[in-house]
Structures are given as structure tokens and as C-alpha cells.
């Protein structure tokens, strides 16, 4: 510090260094969590007794030498600590081992599936958030009106439904309107617009399902935080100033309630990931969720380990990003 603090006390700077410390703390915490996921991912999947080489060689006549060679190749003959070190080293290089059933690298398989999942989860979250916030605002503003009761009721029912069940129902009810599954028809022309339309067509049902089961939480959170906001003194002041209710809502209450809600949206992204696993399974959507499901048959442990680390890791990263965003955007937190 070169500037004498007493000359011009700057709350912003003070807030700034606090923010910096906070950011560092959050990022550090997230890194530790990520490390914990990696450790968990490794030891959890070592719980299964038995020898992975048996699975690899089933139905084939092999002798001791070949088994030993396989074991050495995969490092199963090394002490567990050394295996762990090798695993972490591999992870840092993007090497997550080889799937037992696909016989391809886990990284390659996951890489293929990230895109479709991002597309599905991204689109659904966007629509669900928009819908949820809007319904929440309306509901809070006209609390206990028929609209509020009905929309809260519908939201609760949606929230109570297992996503995969809703998915199966939808695909039974809609008959031939939408494709039975997958992401595109093989016979669609390769140009961009045909492909985009085809993918959109395939995405309607999975998207609807995912939205229906996740939007409720956004609506309920928005509703209650707006209710809280509306009790605040400044709103009474604003009304007293003669502002129309509509303006009060739009200019003051909603923006203030929006911030914590949106942050919460990202904090709850894990729920969407959970929904994606079953929805992708029902609609054969070729994403990470389906890959996780496929890895369960067998089970294909290296693959499951890979999807576990990637899914859990990305949720942790999303969380810390949401947290940081909140710090940056919310003036109240920034000041304190």
C-alpha cells in the first residue's frame, strides 16, 4: 500500500481486497473439493473386490503370463498408492483410462457426449429459468390469487414427478408427433439448417420433460424471495412517493429478488444434471447421462469413474462460478 489510507478512505478499495480474498478462498475451496472428487472417484471404484483382468479376458483362453502382462499393462500389479498417483497424473493429462466395453478411451467417449448434454441441459435450463422466474414473479405479486394457487400447485406436481416417468408418458401420449429417441435421423441432409431442425425436433420431448421437473424450484424460490423483498421498507417508501405498483415491482422489487434467485439457479445445477441422466436414458439422447447409464450395465467401472468425476467436477465448477458472479454483481455483498 503506497497511498496513505487516512487521506482518502476508499470503501471500494477495501471492498476490493476483501473481494479478492473471498475469491481466492472460494476458488481454493473449490479446488480442494475437486481434489476430493478425484480421490473419491478413485477409491470408491476400488471397493469392488475382484480382478478387472478377469472381465477383460472373459470367454478367452488365457494363461498366467498373459494375465500378468495385462495386469502390468494396466498397472493393477502396483501398490494402490502408486496406482493412485498414476491415475491422478493421467487425469491431469486428460487420460481417464479405457472403457471395458467400448474398448475406447474414456476421455474420447466423454468428449463425444459433452456437446449433446450441454445442448439439452442448457436449453432446458434457459427455458425453465425464464418460465420459473416469470411464474414466480406473477405469483408473488398476486399472492393467494387463483393464478398463484394454480401455478404453485402445478409446479409442485411437476416437482414431485420422476423425470423418467414423465418422459415415458409424454412419448406414449404424443404418438407419432416426435421421434422415439436419439438426436437426429441418419437420413437427414448434412446441411446446417436441416440438421438443426432435425435436432430441434428430436429435442422437444426431452426438453419438455426436463423443464417440467426443474422449473418448479425456480418459481418457488423466486416467489418467496420476492415476497420477502416486498415487505422491505424501501418498497413502502417507493409507493409513498407515488410510484405505480407496476413500476415499483419492475424497478425495485424484481431486480433485487432476481439476483439471489438466479444465483440459486446455478447452485442447484446438480439437480438438472440428475434429471438429465434419466431423461437421456428414456429418450436415448446421446449425452453424458446416457453414457453413465450405459456404464452401469456391466458395470464398466473405468467409464463410470470418468463420468462421475466429470459430472461432479463440473457441478462444483458451476457452483463456484455462480458464487463468484454473485459476489461481483450484488452490491450488498460487495460492500460488506
Amino acid at each position: 500500500m503506497t497511498a496513505p489510507p487516512l487521506v482518502r478512505p476508499s470503501p471500494r478499495r477495501g471492498g476490493g481486497s476483501g473481494l479478492l480474498r473471498h475469491v481466492a478462498g472460494k476458488v481454493g475451496g473449490a479446488l480442494v473439493s475437486l481434489a476430493a472428487v478425484v480421490v473419491l472417484g478413485f477409491f470408491l471404484f476400488r471397493l469392488i473386490p475382484g480382478d478387472p483382468t478377469v472381465t477383460m479376458t472373459r470367454g478367452r483362453q488365457v494363461d498366467e503370463a498373459q494375465i500378468a502382462e495385462l495386469r502390468a499393462l494396466h498397472g493393477y500389479d502396483r501398490p494402490i498408492v502408486e496406482q493412485f498417483g498414476k491415475y491422478v497424473g493421467g487425469l491431469l493429462h486428460g487420460d481417464m483410462g479405457t472403457s471395458l466395453f467400448y474398448r475406447r478411451t474414456v476421455a474420447e467417449l466423454i468428449g463425444e457426449r459433452v456437446g449433446p448434454t450441454l445442448l439439452l441441459v442448457g436449453t432446458s435450463t434457459l427455458i425453465a429459468v425464464t418460465l420459473g422466474l416469470w411464474l414466480g414473479i406473477r405469483g408473488a405479486w398476486r399472492r393467494d390469487s387463483p393464478f398463484d394457487r394454480a401455478s404453485t400447485g402445478v409446479a409442485l406436481v411437476g416437482w414431485a414427478m420422476p423425470a423418467f416417468w414423465l418422459g415415458m408418458l409424454l412419448s406414449m401420449v404424443t404418438g407419432n408427433l416426435f421421434p422415439s429417441g436419439g438426436m437426429r435421423f441418419s437420413s437427414t441432409p448434412p446441411d446446417f439448417w436441416s440438421q438443426a431442425l432435425d435436432v430441434a425436433h428430436h429435442m422437444v420431448l426431452p426438453c419438455l420433460t426436463l423443464i417440467a421437473v426443474v422449473y418448479a424450484q425456480y418459481q418457488l424460490v423466486m416467489r418467496s424471495s420476492l415476497l420477502e423483498e416486498m415487505n422491505a421498507d424501501y418498497l413502502t417508501t417507493a409507493r409513498a412517493k407515488g410510484l405505480r405498483d407496476d413500476q415499483v415491482r419492475r424497478r425495485h422489487a424484481v431486480p433485487n429478488a432476481l439476483l439471489p434467485t438466479v444465483t440459486l439457479v446455478f447452485l442447484h445445477i446438480g439437480l438438472v444434471v440428475t434429471g438429465a441422466i434419466t431423461v437421456e436414458t428414456v429418450f436415448s439422447w446421446p449425452g453424458l447421462g446416457l453414457l453413465t447409464y450405459e456404464a452401469l450395465a456391466g458395470p464398466d467401472l473405468p467409464l463410470l469413474q470418468g463420468t462421475f468425476v466429470v459430472l461432479a467436477g463440473s457441478v462444483i465448477v458451476m457452483n463456484v462460478l455462480a458464487d463468484l458472479l454473485y459476489q461481483v454483481l450484488d452490491p450488498r455483498v460487495r460492500a460488506s
Binding site: 475451496g29 480442494v32 473439493s33 476430493a36 472428487v37 473419491l40 472417484g41 470408491l44 471404484f45 471397493l47 469392488i48 409442485l156 406436481v157 416437482w159 414431485a160 414427478m161 420422476p162 423418467f164 416417468w165 414423465l166 415415458m168 408418458l169 412419448s171 406414449m172 418467496s224 415476497l227 420477502e228 415487505n231 446438480g270 439437480l271 444434471v273 440428475t274 441422466i277 434419466t278 436414458t281 428414456v282 453413465t292 447409464y293 452401469l296 450395465a297 458395470p299 467401472l301 463410470l304 462421475f308 459430472l311 461432479a312 457441478v315 462444483i316 457452483n319
Partner: protein, 294 residues
Amino acid sequence: MTSIVWQRRRAAVGSTWREFTRNRGGLAGLVVLGVVVVLALLAPLVTDASGLDVTKAAGQRWQSPSAEFWFGTDHTGRSVLLLTWWGSRISLLIGLTATVLSVAIGTLVGVTAAHFGGWLSAGLMWVTNFFLVLPSLVLAIALSTVLPRGIGTIVLAIGVTSWASTARLVRAQTLSVEARPFIERAKVLGGGHVHVIGRHVLPAVLPLVFVNTTLTVANAIVAEATLSFLGLGDPSMVSWGSMLRAANLHGAVSQRAWWFLLPPGLGVVVIVLAFTLVGRALETVLNPRLRGDR
């Protein structure tokens, strides 16, 4: 405990109950829960479990609802009504046991973290936050894959992955209770940890834990259905999740066998909704902050 305390508590419960009954949603939820639980308990008395055995299936495959089979039959010719009925037992059993486990862990961690402080508290809070962030189903999937199939595994997988929110809630409540003067007084008078926690903290925290429990059950039942649907359930038991798995695997959708798809799914929705309604009603009654609002 003195009789005055008891009287006060009983009076408090009484007023809570009166307030609760004023919440129509909560009351409806409670009634539904009561009916479902009674039905589930009655299953062995009024129905014959041998109908669950595929070798003794009474009907043909995929019969639509009729006078003989009110909800039709499944892919092996068993009565869907019977399956749904018996399935409710497993779903409820797993939902409740997993919740007890989850709430027990959560309460223990929450109270410990708040009461003792220091490194222990910091460590516990870190673990809590870690579990809070981790997508619980993904971890539950991993756990149930590596452990042998069975009810115990599912209960463990759900319980171990869903306690974090309870812990955080309990910790906050414990902190606020322990800040009150009477705790200080108890400590000065020589009350040990056991005394303070057992006599003062737990009674004050329990209502909140109770509310949390009803909401946790809802989550646990959906989690059970999801795990069973993914094929991680106990294959020898019929639960709503395993019925939906069978429906998915054996072509209920292509058969348009709505009678096999609807009952187990509706079962989940109704139970979860009932628990949620009861939980929300209790929350408004017991949580003073929300009560002020309404």
C-alpha cells in the same frame, strides 16, 4: 423433566396442530399419507403375495384393465394393482429408512459442528458443503454400483448422500439456540455437553428437523425410484421404481400399456406431493420467519 415443561410442550404441540389443520393443503397431504400407509400395512392381510411370483401369474401378458384385473397385467401376466400395492411397501420403507439415516447423520453433524466449534466444526462444515454441492444422485449411483445389490445398499446410498442440507439447517438453528441466554445459564450452572445438547439444543432443533424430515422423505422416494429405474435396486423386490424399469425395458410404451405406466408413477407423485404439502404446511407453522409473512 418437570410437569410444567410437559404441559407447556403439550400446549405448544396443540396450538401447532390447530394451526396446521388450518392449512388445507397440509391437511389433505396428511390424510393421503395416512391412507397410503394404512393400505401398505394392510397389503399382506388383504392380498395374496403369491400373485407377485411370476411362476404363478394369474393373467395373460399385457391385459388391459378389466373386472378381474382392475389395473390390467404386466409383461408377465401379474396384476398391476397387486404389484403397485406391494411396491408401495418397499418404496415407503426405503424412503423412510433412508430419511431416518439421512436426518440422523445431518442432525449429528449439524449439532456437533455448531456446539463444539474449532477445527472440528470447520472440518465438518467443509464436508457438509462438499456434499451439498456434489450432485447426490451421481454419488448414489456410484455407491450402489460398487456395493452388493439390496435394500440396505439403496438406503445407504440415499442416506449417505442426502444429509448435507439437514446438517446446514440444524447447525444454523443450533447456533441461534446456543446464543440465547438460558444456554449460557445452563453452562454456568455446570451443565455438560450432553446436558446442554440433550435438554436444550435438541428440543429446540427438533421441530425444524421434523419439517426437514418430511421434505427429505419426498426426495428419498424419488431417489429410490430413480435408482431402481436405472437398475440399481434390489432385483428380487417389487418397488415402484422397479416397475417403471420393467415398463421401460419390456415395451410398455410401444404397447401403449398405460395401465402399467400410470399406477407406479402416480404412486410416486401422490406420496411425494403429500409429503411436500405436509412439509410446507409444517414449515409455515413452525418457522417463525415465514409465519410473519403470511
